[in-house]
Structures are given as structure tokens and as C-alpha cells.
């Protein structure tokens, strides 16, 4: 989780990923932030996040992002 939080904070330094849990629903993450994060996650964890994965369920909080990463790594 710490490694993921580092990646997320590096992409969007103004967002507190430890607290926020409505990143998509409240428009805290813009589409550009989202694409930047996806690029970094794909590289860091050798996964391939697709357009279909870009849902609020997967990106609303650091926990849900971690779940997505773990799920894609297992596939």
C-alpha cells in the first residue's frame, strides 16, 4: 500500500490519497490525472489497465485502486 501511495502522490501531489474515498464521484481526479496514474501503475506493476476498468468502483480510493492492481496482477 505504501508503494502505491507513493506512486499516487507523485502523480497528484495535491490529493490526499489516504483520506479521499470519492476520487471519481466527486471529480477530485480529472481524466488527465487518471490517465497519468494508469500509465504509472501499468509500468510499476506490469499490468494492463483497460478502458473498461476506468470505473468509480476501481478508482474512488487508494484501497480500490490497490484491489484493482492485485486483481490484474493475478490474472
Amino acid at each position: 500500500m505504501d508503494e502505491l501511495l507513493d506512486i499516487l502522490s507523485e502523480c497528484c501531489p495535491d490529493i490526499d490519497f489516504e483520506v479521499e474515498n470519492t476520487l471519481i464521484d466527486d471529480g477530485i481526479l480529472s481524466s488527465i490525472d487518471l490517465v497519468t496514474i494508469v500509465g504509472e501503475l501499468n509500468d510499476a506493476y506490469d499490468i494492463s489497465i483497460s478502458v473498461d476498468d476506468l470505473t468509480s468502483e476501481n478508482f474512488n480510493s487508494a484501497e480500490s485502486i490497490l484491489d484493482l492492481v492485485l486483481r490484474l496482477r493475478d490474472e
Partner: protein, 498 residues
């Protein structure tokens, strides 16, 4: 049939009467019949093209769904199935966008090549229904929605009459359940619809149509005007366009509310944005969302773009490296927005102006943050500076989007930046008073809404006499200036023919 014409209001009243008299389960049929009548009355010759688009996209979506659900015993079969689905989608989207290209860009392209144009008439609302049906197809492909089996229901989704002229571009998930529901007469919704329609008409008549003549003259004869007049012309065009497009959208949303159908909000006070990025999240949001979901994300998450970014990484700093994909995708999206605006190099330049500036802003964001900290800028002064900066960027962009040619746009820019001598913008006292009152009213309403004040709720909770007085004053203004004024000529909506 213009949205603010008396004929449209009579048509609307008749449609409403029949809609609510009809049994609930058949009400969507009345909406379909009304939509069909409206399209045939407004653009008889083009109805066939709309019907063809409906038939092709409806059948393609069903075929896509059939392919999705076919049993695939092994991985190879699944792969073949996916390839077939991609092919069906590509062919259907290809037909859709080829139709759009033929009607919108073929004649101007032929003309620019020196060939004689075919004289094709642009079907009413073609950009909007092509985008709406294409979005539906992609959603079916992504299994986000179930393909509609009833072609008549699908036809209503594609041709719903309030929105066909100028959007907003609807999504099946949000629009279809409302269209097919047996919406009961709801006095509150009807009242809200009428209020929105009146507000939209006031914007259109008092600001957009009033400024139209002066702005058009500046753009058409910019060589005769001074540099300041050209700048003012472009700034007034920004106001005219906003009043025209958002006013039209208000009317459309108001009309839809009369039938119990809530359409997406397309504008959220864009000229109070602090950055170009924010501006585009507040301006024509249904197109922005469409571009984001169906172009920006697929591009940014494609295989080739991150691969290209990886190749470029060693040559740039780490900060720039992580922004390569968003920057290229953003520029491509705005290029598409420019092309969507219309044919010609000026529109492409408009798209590039926005895309490259947004990419530049992403890359320079850390530098701007450091600068602001050094200058101790923050709070309201910084916000005001940012809003003014955004407005200036948008105004310069409009030099391109409203010019007939790229050289005219650069000519206008040159006059502005060299402060060339010439005539002043031709604003008569009548125009100044009408547009001035309209703009002040619009600004006050925008600022109040920006502060989270629900003006409609305030009006509705005020004493009946106040409500009646407001309604009477607004309707009286419209009747006096539009329907009883011999000098008034209704101007077509800017985005009616895109």
C-alpha cells in the same frame, strides 16, 4: 421551425396535450411521432438519412450483442469472437462517420481542391445524432448497455425532438429509461421547464441575436476595423456564442422537462473557469464527456501510445515523461473537437490552439506553482488573474473558430497585436442597452449560481405575487421584443447546422 418561434410553441402545446391524454404505456409512441413530425417539418429531405443511421446502428448493435453472447468453447474461439465484434463496431462507426464526413466536409473539401461541389444539404442535427448513436454502439460493444430490440424505441432515442438540433448528446443509460417511462403530468416539472425555456429565450433574444449583426460585421470586414475593435468583436462573439448555445440548450432542456425527461446540463458558467482545462469541463460538457469516454481514454490506454511514450522517456525529464501520454491524447482530442466544429484549416488551428495550450499548461504546472508561491499569490486575486487569463485564451481561440479562413484569423490577430487603426465596433445605443442589460443579468445569475445559490428554489418559494410578476415581466419582454417587434429577425442557432 425555430425554437423561439410561435409555430414551435403551438406545436409543443399540441404535442403535450396529446402526450398527457394518451395512456401511460403508449406515451413514448407519442414522443416518437412528435419527433418524426418535427424532423420532417424542419428538414424533410434529410429525414431519410436520419432513418438510415437509425436502421444501421440499431442492427449493428443487435449483431454486436449476438456475437458477444455466442458461446465460445475455447480461447481461440473467444479471440475470433472478439475480432468479429471489433470488426462490426469498426464498420458501423465507419459508416456513421463517413456519412458525417460526406455531408459536412465533402463539399468544402472539393471546393478547396478547385472541384465543383455536389451541393449536398447538411442534414439537421447530423453531428449530434451521429455522436449519440456512435456512443450507444460503443457502449453496447463494451457491454455497458443492452442493445434495444425494438427499433421504434431506439428510433426515439436517436431522434428525440427537443435535443436533435443542438444536443446535449445523450447517453442510452440516462435517456432511454426516461423516454420510455409513462411520465405523469408533474406541475413542478412543467413549471421548471417553462422557467428554463423563458431564461433560454431571454439569453438568445437579448444577448445572442442582439450582438449577432455587429460581431458578424467585424469578422466579415475585419480589415476595416481597428485592432481594439477586432478584439472586442472576438470578445463579444464569445458572449454571443455562449448566450446562443447555452440559451438554446436551456430551451431544449426546458421543453424536455415538459414531457418529464431531464436532459444533461451542458454548461456550467464556463467563463468563470480558472484554467482552460476547467473551461472545457464546463463548456458543452456532453461533447466533452463523449470525447473523454470514447476518444481520450481509448487513445491514452491504447497499446501504441504508451509504447511511443516509453521510447521518448530517455530523452526527456521524468516530469515530462509521465505527461507524454496525456499531452498527446489531449492534443488529439482537441484536434477532433476542432474538426467537429466544421471544415477548414481555421477549425483545425482552433483545435490545436486548445490542445497544445492545455498540454503546455500540464507541462508548466510545477513552474506556475513555484512562481505563484514566490509572488505570494493566492486566494481571490490569483483566482481573478486565472479567470481573466482563461477568458483571454478563449477569446484568442475564437479568432480561429469563427473565421472563414486561417489567413483571416491570422489577419485579425495581426490587427489586434499591432493595435491597427480603423473603425470602432458598430454598436448602436439600442444594441448596447439590450445586450448590456442581458449581460449584467446573466453575470449576476452566474455569480449567484457559482456561490451555490439555487435561484429556481428561491423564486418558487417566493410569494405567488412575486412569482407571477417575474413570469409576467419575462414573457412581456419576450412578446414585446420578439413577437410584436417588426424589426426582430430570429437568427439561426450557431450549432444548428454543425
Amino acid at each position: 421551425m425555430s425554437l423561439s418561434s410561435a409555430a414551435y410553441l403551438v406545436f409543443l402545446a399540441a404535442a403535450m396535450l396529446i402526450y398527457y391524454l394518451c395512456p401511460g404505456k403508449w406515451r413514448w409512441c407519442i414522443l416518437l411521432a412528435t419527433s418524426g413530425c418535427y424532423y420532417v417539418i424542419s428538414s424533410k429531405a434529410a429525414a431519410l438519412y436520419l432513418a438510415a443511421t437509425i436502421a444501421i446502428t440499431w442492427a449493428s448493435a443487435l449483431f454486436l450483442q449476438y456475437q458477444h453472447h455466442r458461446p465460445a468453447p475455447d480461447k481461440a474461439a473467444k479471440k475470433r469472437q472478439n475480432t468479429r465484434c471489433r470488426l462490426i463496431l469498426a464498420v458501423a462507426l465507419g459508416i456513421n462517420f463517413a456519412t458525417l464526413f460526406i455531408f459536412k466536409y465533402l463539399d468544402p473539401t472539393l471546393e478547396s481542391l478547385g472541384a465543383s461541389p455536389l451541393g449536398l444539404l447538411l442534414p439537421l442535427g447530423i453531428s449530434f445524432y451521429i455522436f449519440q448513436t456512435s456512443g450507444y454502439l460503443i457502449d453496447v460493444y463494451r457491454a455497458k448497455v443492452t442493445a434495444e430490440r425494438n427499433i421504434l424505441k431506439y428510433a426515439l432515442f436517436a431522434s428525440y425532438f427537443p435535443q436533435i438540433i443542438q444536443g446535449p448528446i445523450g447517453r442510452w443509460q440516462e435517456l432511454a429509461p426516461q423516454l420510455f417511462a409513462p411520465n405523469r403530468f408533474d406541475a413542478d416539472k412543467v413549471r421548471a421547464g417553462i422557467q428554463l425555456m423563458i431564461w433560454g429565450m431571454l439569453k438568445k433574444v437579448f444577448i445572442a441575436d442582439t450582438l449577432h449583426a455587429a460581431v458578424s460585421d467585424v469578422y466579415a470586414n475585419y480589415t476595416e476595423y481597428s485592432g481594439i475593435a477586432v478584439f472586442l468583436g472576438a470578445a463579444l462573439y464569445c458572449i454571443q456564442l455562449y448566450a446562443d448555445f447555452s440559451g438554446g440548450t436551456d430551451i431544449v432542456r426546458g421543453v424536455s422537462r415538459l414531457f418529464g425527461v431531464e436532459l444533461a446540463e451542458n454548461f456550467q458558467r464556463p467563463y468563470l473557469s480558472r484554467s482552460l482545462d476547467e473551461f472545457w469541463r464546463r463548456w458543452h460538457t456532453s461533447l466533452g464527456e463523449w470525447m473523454k469516454d470514447y476518444l481520450f481514454y481509448p487513445l491514452a490506454l491504447s497499446k501504441w501510445l504508451p509504447r511511443l511514450a516509453k521510447k521518448l522517456r530517455p530523452h526527456v525529464s521524468p516530469c515530462v515523461a509521465k505527461l507524454i501520454v496525456p499531452c498527446i491524447s489531449t492534443t488529439a482530442v482537441f484536434l477532433a473537437v476542432g474538426i467537429w466544429q466544421g471544415p477548414g484549416a481555421a477549425n483545425i488551428a482552433y483545435g490545436l490552439w486548445n490542445g497544445l495550450l492545455m498540454s503546455g499548461a500540464m507541462l508548466c504546472a510545477p513552474m506556475f506553482d513555484r512562481l505563484n508561491k514566490k509572488l505570494h499569490l493566492g486566494g481571490t486575486p490569483l483566482n481573478v488573474i486565472r479567470i481573466v487569463r482563461t477568458c483571454l485564451i478563449v477569446i484568442i481561440g475564437r479568432y480561429f473558430s469563427n473565421s472563414d479562413t486561417l489567413s483571416a484569423a491570422f489577419g485579425m490577430l495581426a490587427r489586434t497585436f499591432t493595435l491597427a487603426d480603423g473603425a470602432m465596433i458598430p454598436l448602436t445605443a439600442d444594441v448596447l442597452v439590450k445586450a448590456g442589460i442581458g449581460c449584467v443579468l446573466l453575470l449576476i445569475v452566474s455569480l449567484l449560481c457559482e456561490r451555490g445559490i439555487d435561484l429556481r428554489a428561491k423564486v418558487n418559494s417566493s410569494p405567488t405575487a412575486v412569482q407571477f410578476a417575474l413570469l409576467f415581466a419575462s414573457v412581456a419582454l419576450l412578446v414585446v421584443f420578439v413577437y410584436l417587434n417588426g424589426d426582430y429577425t430570429a437568427i439561426a442557432y450557431v450549432y444548428e447546422n454543425v
